[in-house]
C-alpha cells in the first residue's frame, strides 16, 4: 500500500490548533471538528438522560410511591403529581437517548471524524451541509431543553395517540417539533455520507476495499435517508392532530389511533438499525485490528449491512402485534422479523471467526468489542423471541422488552461507541488515556450493565409491566438488584469520563507525538498524522488492497498507551 509520505513530511499543526477562536469552531466546515462537537453534545445528553434513569430507578427501589413523592414534597410541589413525574422521567430518558444520543452519536461523532479519513478524502462531499446538520441538531436539542423547562413530556418517547394528541397536558408540541427538527439533521448527515462514499473514495479503493465501518455508515445512511422523512410527516400530522383536531388519529372523529403507530414505527423500526449498524461497523474495526487478523467474511459483513438496511423496512408491524392490528398482518411481520435476524447473525459469526487464531490484545477497545459480542448477542436473540407473535402477546410492554432493547442499544451501540472512542481516542485528540483505568472502567460497565438488565428479562417474563410507577411487592428484590446495577453502571461511566477527560489535561500531553498507527491499524486514517492535519492528508493517498492485511504492516512507533 503506497504511503502518503506522512512519515516523511514534517509535522504540521493538527486540525485542533490550525485555526483558533470560538468562531473557528462554531462555523467550521472541517468534518473532524464537527465530529468532536457532536461527540461533546451527545455525551452531554447521554448523561442527562442517564441521570433521569437513575432518578426513576431510585423510585423503583420500593413498590409503592417513594422517592419521587419525597422529592416533590421537599420542593413543595404537588405530590399527587408523582406518577406523572415518573412518566416524565422515563419519557425524558427515552426521548433524549433515542433522538439526541444514540441516533446522532456514532454517525455524527465517529462517522464524521473517520469516514473522510478512511476513504482518503479531504472532507465529506458537502462540508457546509455538514455544518448545517450540526446547527439543526443544536436547534432540535434546544427544543428538547425547552420541553424539559416547560414541564416535561409524559407520553413515553413513542408519542402514542390518542394520549399524546387528546389527553396529555404536557409539552407535546415542543418535544414533537424538536424531534421533527432533529430528523432533518439525521437526513442531511445520511445524505452527506452516501454521496461521500459513492464519489470520494481514494483511487484504487473499490467498494470491496473500503473499511467495513464505511460500509456500515453507508447502510445507515440509506436508512436515514429513506425512513426519517416518514417520521417528519408523522410528527407533523401529530402536531396537526393536537392543534387542529384533524381527526386522522382520533376514533371519535373517524380516525384510527393504530394508524399513528403504523406511521411512527415505519420510521422507528428502521431507526433502531440506524442505531446499531454503525456499532457493527465499529466492532468490525475493533476486532480485526486488535486480533491482528484479516476480518473473516468481508463481503458477508458488507452485504449483510445493506441487507439489514433493506429488510428493516419490512418488519415494523412487530411493534403493533397487540395493538389491534390484524393477526394476518401480524403473521407476515413476524415471519419477516425472523428474516432480519439472519444477516445480523452472519455478522456475529464472522466476528467470532475473526477472533479464532487471532493475536488478541486485551486492551480497552478490544474489551469493549468482546463485551459487545456478549451483550449484543443476548439482545439480538431476545429480539427473536419477541418477534414470535404468540410469545409477544405475553411479553409485550413488559420488562422483557425493556431488557431486550437495552441489551441491543446500550449493550450494542453504546458499548461499541465507547470502544470506538477508545480505539480512535489518540487519533482524535492526540492524547493517550490510561490503559489500566480503561480496563477497570470496562469491568465496571460490564458488571453494572448486566446486573441492571439481565434479571429484567426474568422480571418481564414473570409479568412486571414497563412504564409502571408502582408494582406488586414480589418484584421488589429484582428491582433493587437492577437499581444497584444502575448505580454501578453510573460509576463505571463516570469513571470512564474521568480518565478520558484527564487525558486531555495539559499535564497529560505526551512527550513525543503519538505514532500514526499505535494499534497497528492499516486503514487510511492510520496513515496520517495523529491528530490529523486540517486537510487530512498530504496529497491524495492511493490504496491497492483492503485495510485488513496486518502482517505486512509494521506497527509504527511504540505502544505508548501502557
Amino acid at each position: 500500500m503506497e504511503d502518503d509520505k506522512s512519515k516523511h513530511a514534517k509535522r504540521e499543526p493538527s486540525y485542533l490548533v490550525a485555526q483558533k477562536g470560538l468562531k473557528s469552531w462554531l462555523f467550521t466546515v472541517d468534518h473532524k471538528r464537527l465530529g468532536l462537537m457532536y461527540l461533546a453534545s451527545t455525551l452531554l445528553f447521554f448523561f442527562v438522560a442517564g441521570i433521569a434513569a437513575i432518578a426513576f430507578r431510585t423510585e423503583l427501589l420500593t413498590p409503592g410511591p417513594g422517592e419521587i413523592s419525597s422529592v416533590l414534597e421537599w420542593l413543595e410541589m404537588d405530590t399527587t403529581q408523582s406518577a406523572t413525574t415518573y412518566n416524565k422521567l422515563f419519557t425524558v430518558h427515552g426521548a433524549v437517548m433515542v433522538f439526541l444520543v444514540i441516533i446522532p452519536s456514532v454517525p455524527g461523532a465517529l462517522g464524521n471524524f473517520l469516514v473522510p479519513l478512511m476513504l482518503g478524502a479531504k472532507d465529506v462531499a458537502f462540508p457546509r451541509l455538514n455544518l448545517l446538520s450540526f446547527w439543526i441538531y443544536s436547534l432540535g436539542a434546544l427544543f428538547f431543553i425547552y420541553t424539559l423547562l416547560a414541564g416535561g413530556l409524559d407520553t413515553g418517547w413513542t408519542f402514542y395517540t390518542p394520549y399524546s394528541s387528546n389527553f396529555s397536558g404536557s409539552a407535546v408540541i415542543s418535544a414533537t417539533f424538536g424531534a421533527f427538527i432533529l430528523g432533518f439533521s439525521s437526513i442531511l448527515t445520511g445524505l452527506n455520507f452516501m454521496v461521500t462514499i459513492h464519489k470520494m473514495r481514494a483511487p484504487g479503493m473499490t467498494w470491496n476495499r473500503m473499511p467495513l465501518f464505511c460500509w456500515a455508515i453507508y447502510a445507515t445512511a440509506i436508512i436515514q435517508v429513506l425512513a426519517t422523512p416518514v417520521l417528519a410527516i408523522t410528527l407533523l400530522l401529530l402536531i396537526m392532530e393536537k392543534t387542529l383536531n384533524i381527526g386522522i388519529f382520533d376514533p371519535a372523529m373517524g380516525g384510527d389511533p393504530v394508524l399513528f403507530q403504523h406511521f411512527f414505527w415505519f420510521y422507528s423500526h428502521p431507526a433502531v438499525y440506524i442505531m446499531i449498524l454503525p456499532g457493527f461497523g465499529i466492532v468490525s474495526e475493533l476486532i480485526a485490528v486488535h486480533s491482528r487478523k484479516h476480518i473473516f467474511g468481508y463481503k458477508a459483513i458488507a452485504l449483510s449491512s445493506v441487507a439489514i438496511a433493506i429488510i428493516s423496512f419490512l418488519v415494523w408491524g412487530h411493534h403493533l402485534f397487540v395493538s389491534g392490528q390484524s393477526e394476518l398482518a401480524g403473521i407476515v411481520f413476524s415471519f419477516l422479523t425472523f428474516a432480519v435476524a439472519v444477516p445480523t447473525a452472519i455478522k456475529v459469526f464472522s466476528w467470532v471467526a475473526t477472533l479464532y487464531k487471532g493475536s488478541i490484545q486485551f486492551n480497552t477497545p478490544m474489551l469493549y468489542g468482546l463485551m459487545f459480542l456478549f451483550t449484543f448477542t443476548i439482545g439480538g436473540l431476545t429480539g427473536v423471541y419477541l418477534g414470535a407473535l404468540s410469545i409477544d402477546v405475553h411479553l409485550h410492554d413488559t420488562y422483557f422488552v425493556v431488557a431486550h432493547f437495552h441489551y441491543v442499544m446500550m449493550g450494542g451501540t453504546i458499548i461499541a461507541f465507547v470502544g470506538g472512542l477508545h480505539h480512535w481516542w489518540s487519533k482524535m485528540t492526540g492524547r493517550n488515556y490510561n490503559e489500566a483505568h480503561g480496563r477497570w472502567g470496562a469491568l465496571l460497565v460490564f458488571v453494572g450493565f448486566n446486573m441492571t438488565f439481565f434479571n429484567q428479562f426474568v422480571m418481564g417474563q414473570q409479568g412486571m409491566p414497563r412504564r409502571y410507577y408502582t408494582y406488586v411487592p414480589q418484584f421488589q428484590q429484582q428491582h433493587v438488584l437492577s437499581t444497584v446495577g444502575a448505580y454501578i453502571l453510573l460509576i463505571g461511566f463516570l469513571w470512564t469520563a474521568y480518565y478520558l477527560l484527564a487525558s486531555l489535561r495539559k499535564s497529560a500531553a505526551p512527550k513525543q507525538p503519538i505514532a500514526d498507527s499505535p494499534w497497528g491499524g492499516t486503514s487510511l486514517e492510520w496513515h496520517t498524522q495523529t491528530p490529523p492535519i486540517e486537510h487530512n492528508f498530504h496529497g491524495q493517498p492511493r490504496v491497492d488492497s483492503d485495510p485488513y492485511n496486518f502482517p505486512q504492516i509494521e506497527r509504527t512507533g511504540d505502544a505508548e498507551h501502557h
Partner: protein
C-alpha cells in the same frame, strides 16, 4: 494548479473558495466533474427524502378514501376543479421554462437563463395566487380542517366526517404550497447569481439542482391534482 496541495493554511470553505482556472471549484474535490456529479447525486438523494415525506400524506389520503368513500366523493365536489386545472397547466409550463433555463446554462445563453428563470418564478407566483383564491373560498365557506370545520354555517351539508377530508386537503396542498414558496426563494437566489454571470457550460450545477427540485414540486402536483380534485 492543485490548490489543495499548497502548504499554507487553507481556509476550508468549500465551494466559495475559488480555484485557479475554474470558478466555484471546491478544495476537497479533485475535478469539477467529481464535484458536479456529487452535487447532482446528493440532490437526487434529497428528492428521495421529499418523496417519502409526501408519501405519508398520500397514504393518509388513501386510508381516508378507503374508510369513507362516500364522504370523500361528496366532499371533493366542493374543490375548485378549474382552479386546480389552471394550476396544473401553470406548473407544467413552469417545469418547461425551468428545463429550458437549465439548457440555456448548458449552452451558455445568459439572456435565456435569466428569461426562463424569471418566467418560472412568475408561473410559481401565479400558482400561489390561484391557490390563495382557492383557500379564501374554502375559508369563506367554512371548510376548514378538523375542529374548525363549520361549513354548515354557510349552507353546505356534507355527510360523514368531511373535516377529515379537508384536513388532508389542506395538509397536502399546504405542504406542497410551502415547497412552492421555498422554490420561489431558491429560484430568486439562482436568478441573482445568474445575473452576475456565474453560470455557463463549465459550471451550471446549482441551476440543474434547483431544476430537479422544481420538477419534483411539479411531480407531486401531478399526483395530488387527480387524487384530490378529480377522482370519483
Amino acid at each position: 494548479m492543485s490548490d489543495h496541495d499548497s502548504p499554507k493554511a487553507h481556509r476550508p470553505e468549500g465551494a466559495s473558495e475559488p480555484h485557479p482556472g475554474h470558478p466555484f471549484m471546491a478544495h476537497h474535490f479533485n475535478t469539477p466533474g467529481q464535484q458536479a456529479g456529487a452535487a447532482k447525486f446528493g440532490m437526487w438523494v434529497f428528492l428521495a427524502t421529499e418523496i417519502l415525506m409526501f408519501s405519508g400524506l398520500f397514504l393518509a389520503y388513501f386510508i381516508v378514501r378507503m374508510n369513507y368513500p362516500d364522504m370523500v366523493l361528496a366532499a371533493h365536489e366542493h374543490l375548485n376543479k378549474t382552479a386546480g386545472g389552471i394550476n396544473t397547466v401553470v406548473l407544467i409550463t413552469s417545469s418547461l421554462t425551468m428545463a429550458l433555463a437549465v439548457r440555456a446554462a448548458q449552452t451558455g445563453n445568459q439572456k435565456a437563463i435569466l428569461r426562463n428563470l424569471l418566467l418560472t418564478i412568475a408561473f410559481a407566483f401565479t400558482f400561489m395566487v390561484v391557490k390563495y383564491f382557492e383557500y379564501s373560498a374554502k375559508f369563506a365557506h367554512g371548510m376548514l380542517p378538523g375542529k374548525y370545520y363549520h361549513a354548515w354555517d354557510h349552507g353546505y351539508l356534507i355527510e360523514g366526517h368531511p373535516h377529515i377530508f379537508f384536513a388532508v386537503y389542506f395538509c397536502m396542498t399546504g405542504l406542497h404550497g410551502i415547497h412552492v414558496l421555498i422554490g420561489i426563494g431558491v429560484l430568486a437566489w439562482i436568478y441573482v447569481r445568474a445575473s452576475k454571470g456565474h453560470f455557463g457550460p463549465r459550471y451550471y450545477t446549482p441551476v440543474e439542482n434547483v431544476g430537479l427540485y422544481w420538477h419534483l414540486v411539479d411531480l407531486i402536483w401531478i399526483f395530488l391534482f387527480p387524487l384530490l380534485y378529480l377522482v370519483r
